[in-house]
Symmetry: D2
Subunit: 467 residues, 4 copies
């Protein structure tokens, strides 16, 4: 099971007031806690952190108006009345806003963390204080991790009918250890690339006996998490770590998918001279039309100042490439895995590693040449930048709507397969975020709707539309 844990070793939001709470040596599992109202169905670091956590949640609420407006619009319907949700996600203030929204919409929930490091203990405490059965703390051990999932999946009397998963651990745990419970599930909502991949594998092998929804590939999620979010975080990540001036810098962006497009646009906008590498001729042609020279990494290994991997592939930048790079070259990864840069090849006796500051290593060749490696090849945007709350809002909103859809869908709409979010839902998520931009949507006239053959309320595009 070890490898399940390795997906995230860095939390999205690792700030925590109680990091150095070194006096607190007892494991949460061994401590006896209860909320001010006598509620005891939880296991968090320290229920006393609840006040601080509540304030964090309140601040997050300010930044997630779409979810708040969902509460308002849907609270009378209670569209999740009867829903029993097992949640397994990063446990942050933003997640708490989602969880409390689900509860307000009528759901019962049990919640654990999808990562042993990413829980904000104060937030977990605030949820517990508010009566949410939450089992999570920062720095759980592996055994704790699975124990927490067990507590959420298979507690006595708890009959879950929905799973909200991020990475697939809750799903696979239930499938393996509680197959009877699993069969009663009405739907799985999965957010991560990894989790979605695992669902498709289950589906292929015929093991997926319940419907699942892939919210990772919804339009809003893709465009925001990838294109727009990376467009911003590449600058931030490089600046915080290296203080580099972008103007006139020669940058190699490896891969011209959504992430690469975002990185290249941002860097070009700041005056960098960007070169793109691609394997796919269509994306390569897009890069050309967008004003980027398309070259191989070999072509420019010895001239570029900065190298950014955005491919989802492995060993895109190898030792051989780095041997050719010039002194001071910066190497960073914005792709999906931590294998894009062949970091292992740098751990040889002839090279010296020098930690210059947090997340910045100088790798020193024998002739004195230094390569600047950021975040040890892990994701730069998660390690050295911040995720805008707007992005988290889009994701959380999508998750909530997917749960509502799966729970309320008429019998037979979803079978034992992996589905994309219905376009209408995708459009609804977008519409909930428009007020923040004071955007005024145009409404089709009856005449126009008829002419286009559309419903006035959407969906507005065919399934294959590319946006």
């Amino acid at each position: 099971m070890n490898n399940y844990l390795s997906h995230f070793t860095l939390s999205k939001n690792s700030g925590s007031y109680s990091d150095s709470d070194s006096d607190d040596d007892v494991s949460p599992r061994e401590r006896d806690q209860e909320s001010s109202k006598g509620f005891k169905d939880f296991c968090v670091k320290n229920i006393r952190y609840a006040t601080i956590g509540r304030r964090e949640i309140e601040i997050a609420e300010q930044e997630m108006p779409a979810l708040i407006s969902l509460r308002k619009r849907a609270s009378q319907d209670k569209p999740l009345k009867g829903a029993h949700i097992v949640g397994c996600t990063h446990l942050t203030a933003q997640a708490a806003v989602l969880i409390e929204t689900l509860v307000m919409l009528g759901a019962k929930v049990r919640w654990c963390a999808c990562n042993i490091f990413s829980t904000q203990n104060e937030v977990a405490a605030a949820l517990a204080e508010n009566g949410v059965p939450v089992y999570a703390w920062k720095g759980e051990g592996e055994q704790d991790f699975w124990w927490c999932i067990e507590k959420c999946v298979a507690e006595d009397g708890w009959k879950p009918n929905l799973i909200l998963d991020d990475g697939g651990d809750a799903t696979h745990f239930m499938l393996k250890y509680h197959p009877a419970v699993f069969k009663k599930i009405g739907g799985i909502v999965e957010e991560s690339v990894t989790g979605v991949h695992r669902l498709y594998q289950l589906s292929k092998t015929g093991k997926l006996c319940v419907p699942a929804m892939n919210v990772n590939d919804s339009v809003t999620k893709q465009k925001f998490d990838n294109l727009y979010s990376c467009r911003e975080s590449i600058l931030d990540g490089l600046k915080r770590t290296t203080d580099v001036m972008f103007g006139g810098k020669s940058v190699s962006v490896c891969g011209y998918g959504e992430v690469g497009k975002g990185c290249a646009a941002a860097l070009k906008g700041m005056g960098a001279i960007v070169t793109v590498t691609e394997i796919d001729p269509i994306c390569a042609l897009q890069a050309c039309m967008d004003g980027f020279r398309v070259q191989t990494i070999e072509d420019i290994a010895d001239t570029a100042d900065v190298f950014i991997t955005c491919t989802g592939n492995r060993n895109v930048i190898t030792r051989k490439h780095m041997d050719k790079m010039k002194n001071g070259a910066v190497v960073a990864n914005m792709g999906h895995s931590n294998t894009e840069i062949e970091v292992s090849s740098l751990k040889t006796k002839d090279l010296v590693w020098e930690k210059v500051r947090s997340q910045v290593d100088h790798i020193i060749w024998q002739d004195g040449k230094r390569i600047v490696l950021l975040a040890e090849g892990r994701l730069l945007n998660y390690s050295c930048s911040s995720v805008p709350s707007f992005v988290l809002s889009v994701t959380a909103c999508t998750q909530a709507l997917a749960l509502i859809e799966m729970f309320n869908a008429p019998e037979g709409r979803y079978k034992q397969d992996v589905y994309l979010l219905p376009k209408k839902m995708d459009e609804y998520v977008a519409s909930l975020h428009l007020p923040q931009f004071n955007a005024h949507l145009t409404e089709l006239s009856d005449d126009q709707a008829k002419y286009l053959g559309l419903q006035k309320s959407g969906p507005f595009k065919p399934a294959y539309y590319r946006y």
Copy 2:
């Protein structure tokens, strides 16, 4: 049938040396012509124009290296040996490069025009001189139009097995009047929005008894014809007609699909202040993230300097809007139809039309206010700009590959339905255009291909990938 003709009343490339050939009053159908080699199976304006047409074709060849390289790569295989193609397209120099490529690849063809105005007579003559059975001239009457199609569809001894259509006229003519011939067709390749729409309707009603390929929705076609081509032609079209300075101008772009995205980006790049109108919340959110204010047309009818419709919808700008516009406001259409601007509403007694220059009318209100209407509401990019040959090259290349695919596909790959171009073909079209940009594609290593679960030669993306 009248309405079939109305799709294009302006040719893509209307330049023609023989426009004023007023001494030439006899209909081509009544003239007896033959090529220098005694070839007589054609009907063109005047075979003597062949030399001029040949030079035009040679110049076009210079700008279509992808097609030339297709000739080289595929000429030994003769992948179209045995193909008998009915072609019905705009008959321009660029089309001639395509036609002669098809012939070099082994095909037999018969060719007519999809539009009564768009034929370049010199080019048609050059094709005839080269032994291509071509039936087309500029200014055909309606009866001539269908006679020419008849000559290409149903000549004695001619057993066509492929159709290359642009608008669907050849397809529907054959289906209606020569159903027996139609049933022998192995595949239809259709390029236009309109033609594709008609194919899907046939398919829905069960009348499509042969496979068809929708090349209009291929990635390269969409992105080039819409996003990139419009990005360039909006500036050109406005400049040629109005000499407007873009800097500081307030522009309303109606619709934020590919066309609207291209227009908005170009105008913003030149210093215009662009506002977007949208009905689709996802596209509206994209506009926000790209830095455009999203408003309704009502919001800005009285303040914008320029209005551009890019919706594909009708009556997007109505008389009511134009009544509110300020003096000197420019109104133009970049969308798919000539109905986006409610031009008919301007033809009332209280308004005076004044033709200021070619394609530019001033509509004068009774208080002296003038609205500048471009191309009488027809497509600005076709009427007042030029289509870059690069775009035509992409389209022609896609058509050639689609024909090759349909002709060589193993039994059963394509059934009686409308198909999108296989992604691999799309990628191949892109790859043929990369040398023009001196682009160097990266090749996957065996290890990487395995890691990604891809063939090294592609296709590289899932079907739903949005680019």
Copy 3:
């Protein structure tokens, strides 16, 4: 004197309704014409064109609101009452708006053309009909040219006290042939680079006995005529002549002054990959920071698709460079002279010139390589694009204010030297153009003005401010 005429062989606005007036063979000098009111002090092609010309002037007025607002603001003061102005400029509709503005402000004027081709005959007729003594027609001979100037400079009883010149011909003519008149001049306003250069030479050699104002180097003129105007006209000029698609094109911009900055920004904005050549390290460093690679023309002669000269220098692109260029390379000039491209070196026996369309020549090497030369190396923006009326408005407004300033300046403010327009005037020209953009200027509070040590009405910047 021949060389004086060669500065402009292409008019800014060469449209004229009477071009083909071949029935009109008699020289205007030999014809006896009078206006409908019996006015005879003029010499134009045909006074009957006046109605058409008046309409042209009215259309131009719509596009020059700053001048119209100057009429309104200053008409009561009659700030030019007593001013007797010799005007020698291009005689276009826009110039007519200026001339009639000067008259409304109280001036008496006599006007001739600074170029033998640039007069719009209809406009000249309309001015004459309106009682303005105008001596100019399109296609004057050299002798006519100087005769017209003579009529404006030294008519009996005419005591000019101001000159508005464009190129310096009126100034030098008066200085040489009517030195006594010249000494009475209170001020010269000169607009062109050439004229300003000649004034500084007079000043250096001690021959400038009257004050002169260089309006060519005013901020608004420089930034609009150079940076902003070229930013727009480079795209327009290339598109109209070559229909080239900018996306992905490799373009070499020679020179990174205002013109080069404008061209490079526009091309980059449309997806071209721009390389800059520079001799000045400061401008080169700006190019770097703006994201352009700085190379020599030799570095990229064999790879760029398009070459644009913007240096003001000569022989920037030589035969040697063009020998190295690839097939289809486009060469154009946006700089100040027609000598930037060594066109003469292309007129050798081994090269064939082929005129492809107006302003476009193919130069064909013996191996078949074609270089596309635009406008025979003359200014692309004047030859193949249009000058936005907004730019002409800024220039005309600056000229009017400069005349007012020189005429009303207290004794001793201007001595026998060449002056730059006072910054306050420059700011005033700008402020007159802001309403077109619906721009709201902020006003300094008393407290803020004191803090900054500024008058609330400006000027707002030190003389050396770079904008």
Copy 4:
């Protein structure tokens, strides 16, 4: 004297290894220290930090290749042999690279800090260890500050002939307390806006009896410190403090000088919708042409998401404006003073301040509205971002060249006045930075230089050129 200290309360580079050196209570002035070589003419926090400081200097050297190349080019000439320089600047690693360059070029120096907080103690130690008389430590008191200056200005036997000043404190101290020494000074080089302002005031009142050079207004300094540096730091500063997503944000940039231009361009590039406020019509017109709406702060106080002041003025954003702002609005200052935002007006009883994180305060209105104030209204780029070493390199290089120029200028070139850096020097600074961009400068041919009337080695532009 108090106000002299207030110019900088935040150092450019405040990182220091010994911040928490709480065991070290004795004042440096009372400690007896000597270098490993017995050198004692210095006063630093702790000479033992020298090794760490040396490493910092070495890292800085890597980022300042222009200065290193100046060492190489000029070290044989020893152009500063005989120069005795009093230096008073921020004492950072970058300053140390400059100081050691001056020494290598032949100068003798004595150095103190221009700010009581900005000294990096380790760097000072390294300089002392290397034999440089340095008097500076972080956290000096006011008396210490002047004592250090005294030690550098007026030590027995020290006859300074040059001053390198940053803020004017050394200059004014010497003028006031050691006028006899001051009279022997051959030149002052002043870098800061404040110091330059004070020099011009001395000049106006006739008290400046030595020549001074204003390097603040050199082209490279202005463009880099203002336009380019701010273009980058605005994004960085906002991101680090607020994690805001720029896409779609409505931002008001107050002032469109170099700083405003840089901020507006960067924010627009990232998808923000930027509105500009201006008092100067020329800058306002530039903003229009660059695609920004020009409004007053009143116009948009209630709609913008972010407000950035870049004016150099005071009370640009007042309490009245902030009363109108919407919940969550962010207010930050990028201008020259800390008075642009009327922070004092926020210190009233009805408002609650809540420190959210370092440099971020929430000001809470009684109705719960929160305004996010960054860096308490001080400079955002200095407080919340980093200064790229490239900018520091340009500044240091300019200072070194200015010192060389003043020291070597022939008698009479500089009189008792304030001079701008000769353009040729400015160009030389730029040329020293080009190799970092691998830029290839074009050289004028003899023929071209003659045509332009220029020396082949420059200067290339007239004094009034605006770049």
